[in-house]
Amino acid sequence: MESNKYLEDIASIKNIMHKSSRFISLSGLSGILAGIYALIGAYVAHTILTTEQLTASGERYSSLSGLINAYLAHPSGTKLVLIGLIVLILAVITGVILTTRKAKKQEEKIWDASSKRLLINFAIPLCTGGAFCIILLQYGLIGLIAPCTLIFYGLALINASKFTLGDIKYLGLTNVIIGLVSTQFIGYGLYFWALGFGVLHIIYGTIMHFKYDKK
């Protein structure tokens, strides 16, 4: 009788500690969808780049990065930037909608101290990376942009993992590793990008979906 009460006490302590320090309503499904958007985006970007290569005014580029360089100098290079932005915006909107829905189902607040802390800790490395990528662009180091986005995104996830489901740490670590490996294969950034942002998100999202959402 008494020990039952203490057992309940311990369970509720664990629950409260977890709930109060971590934002646990992140939706796994939104990870899967973000991955799919990224893959579609990468595919479209790839198509644009390869058709451009065939139709570019007689000039052939030895590497994809050379092509991207030329493409960005070209006025329609904004297409690539646009694709990136659309993927990002779609992923964020889906994430917010699905996470809000999950939070409602679990009767948790979407905007509280834990979600604020999560966002701030995620945003610091991410914004640093964003700024750094713009600097790379400034110096024309286009080839390093894909690795750079992967590495900083990975670091942002590792930093954020202390404030949400700890599993995103592994997604972050894998992204950092892929980012570092891709520095050795400049010109194939788009493929690594599709792997890191596309395939990994789908795998991670699926695992999370079955581990946490399907309960």
Binding site: S3, Y6, L7, D9, I10, S12, I13, I16, M17, K19, S20, S21, K109, D112, A113
Partner: protein, 96 residues
């Protein structure tokens, strides 16, 4: 020495355990956050925070956010040690 020696009377209530649990893993929490997390009423929470404050297990910090008074709480070192001992005692008790 009895096995319940370390069971701390001050923590022998669900709400107080809850308050300490939140403050063990968060630097600080304000009244509203505690209320929402623990699903309790203003009066109930106030009486329990007062009890913990009296034991010097938590530190109360009163400020104003704009014109609204805001009360935030932190666990004191003494409170953290006492809480850890209490949990250990609970676990020992359950292990027997």
């Amino acid at each position: 020495m009895s096995i319940i020696t370390n069971i701390n009377k001050a923590f022998d209530h669900r709400i107080r355990l809850g308050i300490m649990s939140v403050l063990m893993v968060n630097e600080s929490a304000d009244f509203k956050e505690l209320k929402e997390l623990l699903g309790t009423t203003d009066g109930n929470l106030a009486s329990h925070t007062k009890a913990l404050e009296k034991e010097a297990y938590i530190i109360v910090h009163k400020t104003f956010i704009g014109r609204k008074p805001n009360t935030s709480y932190r666990a004191s070192r003494k409170g953290k040690t006492a809480f850890k001992k209490h949990i250990e005692a609970l676990e020992k008790l359950l292990g027997k």
